[in-house]
């Protein structure tokens, strides 16, 4: 049935959007680093998955087990080496945001440059789990379904981690008010680094999963940064469930407008929705209840 096709593809797309945005919401919301190189890290993970798959025959699901910890460590180092000096000298959150935008803007070109030197500028693509799965009589690509499912699982796991554990409570405290968090004995620098690195692990997860069906090249990072930024702002900065909700809303809106209006209007519909939600709730869907 057509409506099933449309809704299902919208939900799958929304899950993928949420997956792309979840790392940024941690990096921006908790560590307060507006990471403009975010999309470049996504693409780097796409390349890692590509190389592991085509050269070593490692399937992308197993590649997750390599890419996520590696990216966690790399992002921890990025935070410790490049971001800590900025955090230390910034008088307030606004100044840190400006500084981090400038610093990560530079980082963007470094990562992109390295990828260009290694891989050149051509398109890359491979095929993995590109098999149809029938759901309610509608065919969905298994790789996309898997990516959306993993996004959901990660969102729930993160939610539980943040809401139910002592560590999560500390991370939320840092997100809400770094100055006061220090007063109750939370090592804010360490938790911010942890949140940034965790965000990095999620970037790797999204890059690896997206590479299964996305045609990419070294210059495409900005596509992911923009998408993630829209979702993070729409969902409420630093809010994992907000990112999930915003991703699903955008995915569904895109599929519904493609299915029932015109596929040429998907962008217009998405941005109209984005504007409407920001007018209604300037801090994003879940923005007020900071966590």
């Amino acid at each position: 049935m057509f409506i099933v096709d449309v809704v299902l593809s919208g939900l799958v797309l929304g899950g993928i959007y949420a997956l792309i945005a979840m790392g940024l919401t941690l990096q921006y919301g908790v560590a307060r680093i507006m990471n403009l190189a975010y999309g470049e890290f996504t693409i780097a993970a796409c390349f890692a998955a590509y190389v592991l798959f085509t050269v070593s025959g490692v399937n992308p699901i197993i590649a997750l087990a390599v890419a996520m910890p590696a990216s966690f460590v790399i992002n921890w180092l990025v935070y410790a080496i490049f971001m800590t000096p900025l955090v230390k000298r910034a008088p307030d959150a606004g100044a840190l945001e400006v500084d981090s935008i400038l610093a990560t803007f530079g980082l963007l070109f470094v990562v992109q440059g390295v990828l260009l030197v290694i891989f050149g500028g051509t398109y890359f693509s491979y095929s993995y789990l590109a098999v149809p799965v029938q759901i309610l009589g509608s065919a969905v690509a298994l790789n996309r379904l898997l990516a959306a499912g993993i996004a959901l699982a990660i969102a729930l796991a993160l939610y539980l981690l943040l809401m139910k554990t002592r560590m999560g409570t500390a991370v939320r405290a840092v997100a809400v008010n770094p100055a006061s968090a220090r007063l109750v004995g939370i090592d804010t620098a360490r938790y911010a680094a942890f949140a940034f690195a965790l965000g990095g692990a999620l970037v790797a997860a999204s890059g690896v999963l997206v590479s299964m069906f996305f045609t990419f090249n070294a210059s495409m990072g900005v596509v992911f940064t923009m998408k993630a930024l829209i979702i993070v702002i729409m969902g409420g900065v630093g809010n994992v469930l907000g990112a999930l909700a915003a991703g699903l809303i955008l995915g569904l809106a895109e599929a519904l407008s493609a299915g029932f209006l015109d596929s040429g209007l998907t962008m217009a519909v998405n941005f109209a929705l984005f504007l409407a939600i920001l007018l209604w709730r300037p801090a994003g869907l879940f923005g007020k209840r900071a966590r």
Binding site: S9, V12, S127, A130, V140, T215, A258, G264
Partner: protein, 399 residues
């Protein structure tokens, strides 16, 4: 490879500058501005840059460009990245002409950038070998820029050749007349679909779906679901490389099996065949090469050896052929640019894609419709040596 070559040439260049007679015996300096980064990098790195590199290497290994009198002069390259931005491309070309004072400028990749630098090249009196520049406005452009040569022709020629090929299948093979159209919302996609829609209507085809999607869109499941529901005999997507792959993948997932399946730009990329393997069989697209030609086979082999992958089956060989035209024109008249423009406009040149003769600064006769048959993207429609269409396209197989 790049660094070593440039270092070696740098040595030759500095030696030459010391000599006062370098205008006659020193290297010929060729400059280009290319999109190494940004959204155009994908196209530039498949179609344009590898062919510039291959050509320079081939010429220099043979001793250099032949000039009248029989001497040979090495090529020295000056390269800039335009970051896919037209202002940057214009600045770069201006700098190549006025500061670096190169002998010739090779064009950037893409219609937009070619049109952007057209005026600067025209003012500088440089020949403009516009290859990856396909638009409806070519007949007007060549009036304004008599130094510009268009090697790939107009968008409507591509669409009309496709419709002619489809009519041939209707007459000879019993193809039906229902068509589903999809197109990308960007200059070339819009020009292709406008001309295609008109040609299909004129030829009596019935368009059962006509959808556009935004540039860069790779999530096209709803579009393909709608196409599958319309159940047409023919599916035509006037698409760009990333969406060409996404559309083909989604058609396979949805088990959508029209008898003719056409995706435009990017179908001819080796990546397409690598990604879809046996499922590429029978897919049609823009371009196509005459694989019976030994020169094309030799070109593919050299490209694969030097660049590390085969060329695409549309604009790559034509880009290389445009450089052969330049090379042969220089051999005839030397480096005087005005004489060179006249020579390119009036001469007949023997290239890897066959004999090229400009008509009003345009190459008109060429293959326009290609199809994957085995390992090759062969020409099946348009002009030139054509292979019969494989019809109907075999149904998708499970990957």
């Amino acid at each position: 490879m790049n660094t070593t070559r440039r270092a070696a040439l740098g040595g030759i260049a500095s030696a030459a500058i010391i000599s006062t007679a370098h205008a006659q015996t020193g290297p010929i300096r060729i400059g280009y501005s290319i999109s190494r980064t940004g959204p155009n990098a994908g196209g530039a790195n498949v179609t344009t840059l590898p062919n510039y590199q291959l050509w320079v290497r081939t010429v220099n290994e043979a001793g250099g460009l032949r000039v009248p009198g029989g001497a040979r002069r090495q090529i020295e390259v000056v390269e800039y990245d335009d970051r896919s931005q037209s202002e940057e491309a214009v600045r770069n070309v201006d700098r190549l002409i006025n500061q670096d004072r190169v002998d010739f400028v090779l064009p950037p990749w893409g219609t937009g950038l070619n049109l952007a630098v057209g005026a600067v090249l025209n003012r500088g009196g440089h020949p403009h070998l516009a290859v990856t520049s396909v638009t409806e406005r070519i007949p007007e452009l060549v009036q304004r820029w008599p130094n510009a040569f268009f090697f790939l022709g107009r968008s409507s020629a591509a669409s009309e050749a496709l419709v002619t090929t489809l009519q041939g299948l209707q007459r000879g093979q019993g193809l039906g007349n229902t068509v589903a159209l999809a197109s990308v919302q960007d200059q070339f996609g819009i020009e292709l679909v406008n001309a295609g829609r008109a040609a299909l209507n004129r030829a009596g085809f019935r368009i059962v779906m006509d959808r556009q999607y935004p540039l860069g869109q790779q999530d096209l499941a709803p579009l393909l679901a709608e196409a599958a529901r319309a159940n047409p005999e023919i599916f035509i997507a006037f698409s760009y490389p990333p969406d060409t792959l996404a559309i083909t993948e989604q058609a396979r997932i949805a088990n959508f099996n029209p008898r003719v399946f056409y995706t435009a730009v990017g179908t001819a990329f080796p990546l397409f065949r690598q990604r879809f393997a046996a499922n590429a069989e029978g897919v049609m697209g823009i371009g196509g090469v005459d694989i019976s030609s030994p020169r094309i086979r030799d070109y593919v082999a050299r490209h694969t050896q030097v660049v590390g992958r085969p060329p695409d089956g549309w604009a790559s060989p034509v880009t290389y052929a445009s450089l052969e035209v330049l090379e042969q024109a220089i051999a005839q008249v030397g480096t005087d640019r005005a004489a060179l423009i006249r020579a390119i406009g009036s001469g007949t040149f023997d290239t890897i894609v066959g004999s090229i003769r400009m008509e009003n600064n345009q190459r008109i006769a060429q293959p326009w419709v290609g199809q994957w048959q085995g390992e090759n993207f062969v020409a099946v429609g348009g002009a030139g040596t054509l292979t019969p269409v494989q019809f109907p396209k075999p149904a998708w197989r499970p990957a």
